[in-house]
């Protein structure tokens, strides 16, 4: 939902989000417009935390960088700040944690999809991450129990692979050695 119509920069957005009255709101800046994200469904947050926990274990064990939760803000462009449900950013690209927004795109972004989200929003989101330098985007569909793995393609394109029950999610070149069974992501969350 659009909160305001004036076009904001990432800096203005950050100041706005810091106002006391906005302290508990989950906001994103999309093409200069501030959007508020409603609280996620139980299924949504359980899945996001499962993936985050699994990533954190791997990232900490190998001392690779940082794993962020659903309230992390990444500046993807002058008027673009996104908060993926979970993300990984390597210490090679970001040696120290910044004070305000993450100034660069995460290496890996995870987005769990809500039933109200539309295809164009999902395509925009994936495209925005990949254009900003993210190398891997996992788009997780709790109802369909599938995960679409998006990566940059040749010539500025993007490519996708769909993982289903029985498949295993892997970290590819972004997180070598990381594996997580799709069935573990969706285990015990009930039928849609």
């Amino acid at each position: 939902m659009a909160v305001q119509e004036k076009l904001y920069t990432a800096e203005e957005f950050y100041e706005y989000a810091q106002l006391p009255e906005n302290a508990d709101r989950r906001l994103e800046l999309i093409e200069g417009v501030i959007h508020e994200m409603p609280p996620a469904s139980p299924k949504h947050t359980v899945i996001a935390v499962r993936i985050a926990a699994s990533l954190l274990q791997h990232v900490d064990r190998h001392n690779l960088g940082y794993v962020t939760g659903a309230d992390g803000g990444f500046q993807l462009g002058p008027r673009e700040v996104r908060a993926p449900d979970c993300a990984f950013i390597s210490s090679a690209r970001l040696p120290e944690l910044p004070e305000k927004l993450f100034p660069i795109a995460p290496d890996l972004a995870v987005e769990v999809i809500s039933p109200s989200e539309r295809l164009r929003q999902i395509l925009d989101k994936v495209n925005t991450y990949l254009q900003a330098g993210t190398r891997l985007v996992w788009v997780v569909y709790p109802d369909e129990k599938v995960i679409d793995v998006w990566q940059p393609g040749e010539g500025g394109g993007m490519r996708v692979r769909t993982l289903k029950a029985g498949d295993t999610l892997d970290g590819g070149e972004v997180l070598p050695g990381f594996v997580l069974k799709v069935s573990e992501v969706f285990g015990r969350i009930g039928e849609s």
Binding site: R120, L123, N127, D148, E154, G155
Partner: protein, 188 residues
């Protein structure tokens, strides 16, 4: 660019675009909002014609259905009318007598050519509409990058996409059986 803010129907679009003051304007309707499309340039038009010619030749030879040229409007849903650069309707859905108005459903196959002014968001919005309303194959052609993105519907309103580069080739899948095209043929 949005022209008006009231929510319109396909009938409104028909009426509006046949007013003398709108003659020559290329209007489309997405979720009840009318957008004016800029007239395509030489490169855009040449690619549309060439792709249309190759597709239409195959369709005619194998009697697969009917191909439409750019500007032909399809009403995908009451508030959504789009005009793909090339559209295809399978034979089973083509009536004996073609109506004078818009095609009353989504094409089976749509080709959209990206113009320099088109944003990714605009293209994603069109792709979403085609996929939601039953189009089985969408090609999005990027003349500058010389690649073609192939979208197909997947379960739960998802879509898969494959970007085929200049040295790759495309096929018509189940929608246009036996149709094959080298990407380079589209851009020559």
């Amino acid at each position: 660019m949005a022209v008006q803010e009231k929510l319109y129907t396909a009938d409104d679009l028909w009426e509006l675009s046949h007013r003398p003051e709108n003659s020559g304007k290329r209007l489309v309707l997405i979720d009840g909002v009318i957008y004016e499309m800029s007239p395509p340039g030489w490169l855009h038009g040449a690619i549309a014609m060439e792709l249309g010619r190759l597709i239409a030749n195959h369709v005619a030879e194998h009697r697969l259905g009917l191909v439409t040229a750019a500007e032909t409007c399809y009403t995908l849903a009451p508030g959504t009318t789009l005009a793909p650069d090339v559209g295809f309707v399978a034979a089973a859905r083509v009536p004996e007598q073609l109506p004078g108005g818009y095609v009353p459903f989504a094409p089976d196959f749509a080709v959209e050519i990206v113009s320099p002014g088109n944003t990714a968001a605009e293209m994603h919005s069109k792709i979403e509409q085609y996929i939601r309303h039953g189009t089985r194959l969408v090609w999005v052609v990027y003349p500058e990058k010389k690649h073609i993105a192939v979208y197909r519907p997947a379960s739960g309103h998802r879509a898969t996409v494959e970007f085929i580069g200049a040295d790759g080739s495309l096929d018509g899948g189940e929608v246009l059986p036996d149709f094959a095209l080298k990407v380079s043929e589209a851009f020559k």
